[in-house]
């Protein structure tokens, strides 16, 4: 590694760290209903929305009502995108004259964007009209991210309230997040990206005569606006098929930096927001620290693997599958961030990562997307691990476990474990099915352990709502479209519902005051315990599968053996 590459990583971490409290504080103000500099501008709009939709912003919901509101809202979003894709040929803004999408693919894509996964079985420029991209997908990019934040807010309220039945109003959480946080941030980022040359136009693709007299098609479209929220909202669904490795989606090193930073920005800042909302910034920083430790561990292994000597190719620092404009370091940093953050956008092909770097990418997702993770989703996922850590380690101080003064009892343990089991079940069982069925195997682009990695990666990506692909696997088949669609649904809602159930039960509990005998969750010891539990639970669940995929592949590579 060169010095300038190290500097880039340090700069990246510095900006992430510096912006966390700034944005975190702003969001806390917004979510607590406080006054911000945007209030005069947006408050009338917010009120108008409530009036139009007949929402009383002061009415709070019980957790079950909150769940229903969320599910119904998401279902409507799903139906809209599903139908829109199938009839896009009859809708405007379709300069390429693209036909309607098949039902199975439409199902997969609608689920994918509703669940904040943004798994793309389709290729943007050849499958979807500008209308579908802008009014279907981009809208869902905002709303799915806002849904994640809403769930986090409900859980946070549950943890801080005393003996109450309600956990907030889903509609208010949704509107505030979208209006005050996501739209302004996406707007700023879109402008920045436009400045760097990301395309934003309604013109159809360009057909260009190259010097060798071949025809080259250059896809265009209203990309900048979608890419901004794609990164900010940890969505990851690129406007173009090649995602952020395509020059018009990610033209310069600076645009690359902006996009990488915005990948982790909101999830990181939410830890600070959380700290403020639970009245202890330390609690927020502890979670930030645990996420950062996990992130750096993955990053280091990946860098070590990528820059390590590869006996098969005979070189170190392979550029295969990486974008020449960005190089190895930026590709690895992006790959680590995008899998940590449940984003799934790419600027290099993960299929081409060295086995161990691929393992890190996959493992980041398998851990449950809790290393910063999706917007809102990462933090509530991590809070599930916090509850499990507190339960196991908390007993060791001789008290029944409590977090933020709330006793963790059978119900919370049951719900937490449900939220952990559901994605694991999807990844392991669905991959297993794909491994022994022709429908599953016929899509493989590679043989040997790498094939298994591709299958595992696909279902991890879907179950973890990440959306990145290992590529190499042809996912646009009936089998994969349906299986992955179901995986995304389970990975999203089998976590959200238990989380909201915990929020409801926690809100109803009393707060035990802190004493010297209380298990502390705001110190370095807890960071270590939390990291250990995340790795051990994830490791124990996926180590056997990984050993047959990337681990054996790595060992074979060292032996100079390929498939």
């Amino acid at each position: 590694m060169h010095l300038h590459e190290v500097v880039q990583i340090v700069l990246y971490l510095f900006f992430l760290l510096a912006l966390t409290p700034v944005l975190g504080l702003f969001m806390a103000k917004v979510f607590n209903g406080g006054h911000t500099w945007l209030t005069p501008l947006l408050r009338p709009l917010e009120k108008a929305i409530y009036r139009l939709a007949g929402i009383d912003e002061n009415t709070e919901m019980r957790w079950s009502t909150y769940v229903w509101a969320l599910l119904i809202f998401n279902f409507i979003g799903f139906v809209v995108v599903f139908v829109m894709q199938m009839i896009q040929d009859k809708l405007p803004l379709n300069p390429q004259k693209l036909p309607g999408v098949s039902m199975v693919l439409a199902f997969n894509t609608a689920v994918s964007f509703m669940t904040n996964t943004n798994w793309q079985s389709y290729a943007g420029e050849t499958s979807l009209s500008y209308f579908t991209q802008m009014l279907g997908l981009t809208v869902q990019n905002f709303l799915s991210a806002a849904t994640g934040v809403a769930v986090l807010l409900a859980l946070t309220r549950g943890l801080t309230r005393r003996s109450l039945q309600t956990i907030g109003n889903f509609w208010v959480d949704l509107v505030r997040t979208t209006l005050y946080v996501l739209l302004p941030l996406a707007f700023i980022l879109a402008i920045l990206l436009l400045g760097q040359g990301v395309v934003q136009t309604f013109s159809p693709s360009l057909h260009i005569q190259t010097l060798e007299s071949h025809t080259q098609i250059i896809p265009l479209g209203p990309a900048a606006s979608q890419i901004a929220i794609k990164q900010m909202g940890t969505n990851g669904g690129g406007f173009f098929n090649a995602n952020s490795s395509y020059p018009l989606e990610n033209p310069t090193p600076l645009s690359n930096f902006f996009q990488m930073l915005s990948l982790l920005l909101i999830p990181a800042a939410l830890t600070y927001t959380y700290g403020i909302m639970v009245n202890s910034r330390r609690q927020g920083w502890v979670i930030f620290a645990a996420m950062m430790v996990l992130f750096l561990m993955g990053l280091m292994v990946s860098l070590w693997a990528e820059y390590g000597y590869n006996p098969v190719t005979g070189i170190a620092g392979s550029m295969e599958g990486k974008e020449v404009r960005f190089g190895v370091t930026n590709s690895v940093l992006w790959a680590t961030a995008t899998t940590a953050a449940s984003n799934g956008s790419v600027n290099a092909m993960h299929d081409s990562l060295s086995p161990l770097a691929g393992l890190v990418a996959m493992f980041n997702i398998m851990l449950g997307e809790v290393i910063f993770g999706g917007v809102g989703a990462g933090l509530y996922g991590m809070l599930i691990f916090v509850i499990i850590t507190v339960f196991i380690a908390g007993l060791m101080v001789g008290r029944t476990p409590e977090y933020l003064g709330k006793k963790i009892e059978a119900f919370e343990v049951k719900m937490s474990m449900l939220a952990v089991i559901a994605p694991s079940l999807v990844i392991l069982v669905f991959s297993a099915i794909a491994c022994v069925t022709d429908a599953g195997l016929s899509s493989l682009g590679n043989k040997g352990p790498h094939g298994l990695s591709e299958i595992l990666y696909a279902f991890s990506s879907a179950g973890g709502n990440n959306g990145s692909a290992f590529a190499g696997l042809n996912a646009n088949t009936t089998f994969y479209n349906i299986m992955l669609g179901i995986a995304m649904l389970i990975g999203r809602f089998a976590v959200i519902v238990p989380v909201l159930a915990i929020a409801g039960s926690m809100a109803n509990k009393k707060n035990a005051p802190f004493s010297a005998g209380t298990f502390q969750t705001d110190n370095a010891t807890f960071v270590v315990l939390l990291v250990a539990i995340v790795i051990i639970v994830g490791g124990l669940t996926f180590f056997p599968a990984l050993s047959l995929g990337p681990i054996v592949e790595h060992l074979l590579m060292l032996a100079g053996h390929v498939f």
Binding site: R162, I388, F391, I392, A393, L395, M396, V397, G398, R399, T400, I408, E409, A410, E412, V413, K414, M417, L418, V420, I421, S424, L428, V429, S431, A432, I433, C435, V436, L441, K447, G448, P449, G451, L452, A512, P513, S515, A516, G517, T518, F519, Q520, T525, L529, I536, L540, T541, P544, A545, S547, L548, I551, V552, L555, L556, L558, A559, H561, F563
Partner: protein, 705 residues
């Protein structure tokens, strides 16, 4: 403490023998299913047994599979054994209690007539009479008389206790024996539901229900087991894919059913799963060895969570009796005259307080105790009405008559007014203020005024003596995050002084049952858990309200019903030990859970390379995944076998720890956590690596694989 000696040792031969029998009885599936983790082991053992039988009938005999099956059954049996041993100790105790419940004859009064019936026919509300050597036929209250009762059968304490009507010592327990005198008892419990019956049921664990935390932990362990089941089930397809990719023949697969079951059993948290109920039972058992009975495991668990201890001053914090510390004479009165009068007034006073006055006078002025009879004196005993005591000495041998009284400020004032000596009252108040200011009350003493023939002689300073070592005890409690609140009937000043001396965090002066209850409710409203100990009827509401209410065995039936624990020793300091036992119970659970989960890392490194040893082998026997065999275990078979053996043996090895509880020192949460994480977390990572390696060496040496 002798009560510990009388209860069985950790491993008593008789208990072990009985436990061995129970170990097999518990193989009943209805019993096994109560523990999801061990039920999976049980099913796994059945599956492998079926495989082995199938092989044997097919003429094959695979020693490896037979050994795996053998050790799986042992794993299930070891867990049963742990539970049986824990229960056995209680059962042994129950048996000795049951012997007391021999056929007792009750002497029941019906319409003034006495009739003899069997104790089992007694009903609530019956009136019975007991005289010396009678066994009390049922739980009840003494409504008439006073008697000394031998309660050693229940408490283990051989010294007889006094039971009398009225007051807070009127409860009698069935199975105890009247030693002297005669008492009339009203029966308060149905036969079969007496204190003794409940005690037997408790120690026997017959009605044992899972505590809330145990339920939560069982869910966690069950969920982990489900995850590992998914891991093992999905491993087969992954292996099929990999073998195909590696171009291997089907017959080479090392993923046989017994191996997969072995993997599942090793990964499932069997260590804590197998020991969980033993830990819970032994927690109750430890309480019993401290002579405390808890009505439920829930109460023991709550004890660990206690934030505030409400402690009675008398008997817990102080020695229980105030002692005379100093004579403070009135102006123009010599200290010796005051001491003389005070001693005379106290000669017949047999209370510790009175005796301490006699002793102080003797120590300071060499005044000998005199025979009251020779003086012809008449002792005026302390009464609740007058709140004072004294002595009247008639005129004799030229000496004028003396009438000495001692009592509290208020009592003496009332006495002076009643005897027409109002003039003395104002001067008394003045004297008192002059003499002591508020000094005595501030330093924790209570002034006792002494008068002779309506003339004020001075004051005796009485003081509570704080128990030695109690301050350090409270400091430990504070380190554990537990606040102590002293309850006393004393006034504010006295209470504050003792509170400061004893080092309690807070106090309630002039406490009434209402203020106690009020305080408990206030603390609970702030989310705290409260423990208190009490004996009287007026304590019953507070005992019922407290999260842990410990009733003293000497107390009233009402108090015993209201609390969720009974201290047979009636020792108020016991509350601190109860809290410690509760904490130790929870810590043991957490530590073994951590240990169990940490163990899995090593087991993966033993079993996975063994399963996939030949996968993707390019040339020679070993595939690349053999690199994961960092323990360098001899062969795939020996590796799997060693892991399974380790997994079984660790349960047996940890039974003493589960029964005894992990080492406990009163410290802050952070220090305790660090220590336990080091021992059971890091230790849990390392120990199995060593253990499995050692077993592997033995397995090879014994040619088992």
């Amino acid at each position: 403490m002798d009560s510990i000696k009388k209860s069985p040792k950790l491993f008593d031969q008789a208990i072990i023998l009985r436990a061995l029998v129970d170990t097999f009885v518990k193989l009943d599936p209805r019993w096994q299913i109560k523990n999801p983790v061990m039920f999976v082991v049980f099913l796994g053992a059945i599956l492998t047994t079926a495989t082995v039988i199938h092989e044997l009938t097919g003429g094959k005999s695979d020693m490896f599979n037979i050994q795996i099956t053998f050790w799986l059954w042992l794993t299930a049996l070891f867990a049963n054994f742990a539970e049986a041993v824990a229960e056995g100790r209680g059962k042994a105790q129950a048996e000795s209690l049951r012997k007391m419940r021999t056929k007792t004859v009750a002497r029941r009064f019906v319409n003034g007539q006495e009739e003899k019936i069997s104790a089992t026919e007694l009903k609530v509300g019956d009136i019975v009479v007991c005289e010396a050597n009678d066994v009390i036929p049922g739980d009840g209250e003494v409504i008439e008389g006073i008697a000394s009762v031998d309660e050693s059968a229940i408490t283990g304490e051989s010294a007889p206790v006094i039971r009398e009507s009225g007051g807070d010592r009127n409860a009698v327990t069935s199975g105890t024996r009247v030693l002297s005198d005669k008492i009339i008892i009203r029966i308060t419990s149905e036969p079969g539901n007496t204190f003794l019956d409940r005690m037997i049921a408790l120690v026997e664990g017959a009605k044992r229900r899972k505590t809330p935390n145990e339920v939560a932990l069982t869910i966690l362990l069950g969920a982990l087991t489900i995850i590992f089941l998914l891991v093992v089930v999905s491993l087969l397809p992954f292996d099929i894919y990999s073998e195909k990719a590696a171009g291997m023949m089907k017959s080479h697969s090392s993923l046989t059913l017994p191996v997969l079951v072995a993997l599942l059993v090793c990964l499932a948290p069997t260590t804590i799963g197998g020991l969980l109920s033993a830990i819970g039972i032994s927690g109750m058992d430890r309480l019993i060895r401290h002579n405390v009975l808890a009505v439920s495991g829930r109460a023991v668990e709550a004890a660990g969570d206690i934030d505030v201890l409400l402690l009675d001053k008398t008997g817990t914090i102080t020695l229980g009796n105030r002692m005379a510390m100093e004579f403070v004479p009135a102006p123009e009165v010599t200290e010796e005259r005051l001491a003389d009068a005070a001693q005379l007034a106290s000669l017949a006073d047999e209370t510790p307080e009175g005796r301490s006055i006699v002793v102080l006078a003797k120590r300071d002025f060499g005044l000998r105790g005199r025979n009251i009879k020779e003086l012809g004196a008449r002792f005026v005993p302390f009464s609740a009405q007058t709140q004072m005591s004294g002595v009247d000495i008639p005129a004799m041998d030229g000496r004028s008559a003396r009438s000495i009284r001692k009592g509290s400020l208020e009592a003496i004032r009332a006495y002076l007014i009643a005897n027409g000596a109002e003039n003395q009252v104002s001067s008394m108040s003045m004297h008192v203020t002059q003499m002591i200011g508020t000094d005595i009350a501030w330093s924790g003493g209570t002034p006792l005024v002494v008068i002779e023939n309506l003339e004020i002689l001075g004051l005796i300073q009485l003081k509570d003596v704080v128990k030695g070592g109690i301050k350090e005890r409270f400091e430990q409690l504070r380190a554990m995050g537990i606040r102590t609140v002293m309850i006393t009937g004393d006034n504010q000043l006295t209470a504050a002084s003792i509170a400061a001396e004893a080092g309690v965090d807070d106090f309630i002066a002039q406490a009434t049952p209402e203020t106690k209850l009020q305080r408990i409710r206030e603390e609970q409203a702030q989310g705290r858990l409260i423990a208190m100990i009490g004996d009287g009827t007026n304590d019953a509401p507070a005992l019922a309200q407290a999260d842990v209410g410990v009733a003293m065995n000497t107390g009233t039936q009402a108090a015993r019903e209201a609390g969720n624990m009974v201290d047979l020793d009636s020792n108020p300091t016991k509350l601190i030990e109860i809290v410690e036992i509760g904490k130790q119970l929870l810590m043991t659970r957490g530590a073994l859970t951590t240990f169990s989960i940490a163990n899995d890392v090593a087991k993966y490194f033993a079993i996975l390379p063994a399963l996939f040893a030949t996968l993707y082998a390019v040339s020679g026997a070993n595939g690349p995944l053999a690199a994961l065999n960092i323990m360098k275990l001899a062969s795939p078979q020996s590796a799997v076998l060693s892991a399974v053996i380790f997994n079984a043996l660790i349960i047996i090895a940890l039974i003493p720890l589960a029964l005894r509880g992990i080492a406990y020192r009163p410290r802050g949460a952070n220090a305790i956590l660090l220590r336990n994480v080091m021992i059971y977390g890091i230790g849990g990572l390392i120990v199995p690596f060593l253990g499995i390696k050692v077993i592997d060496i033995l397995v090879i040496a014994l040619k088992l694989a």
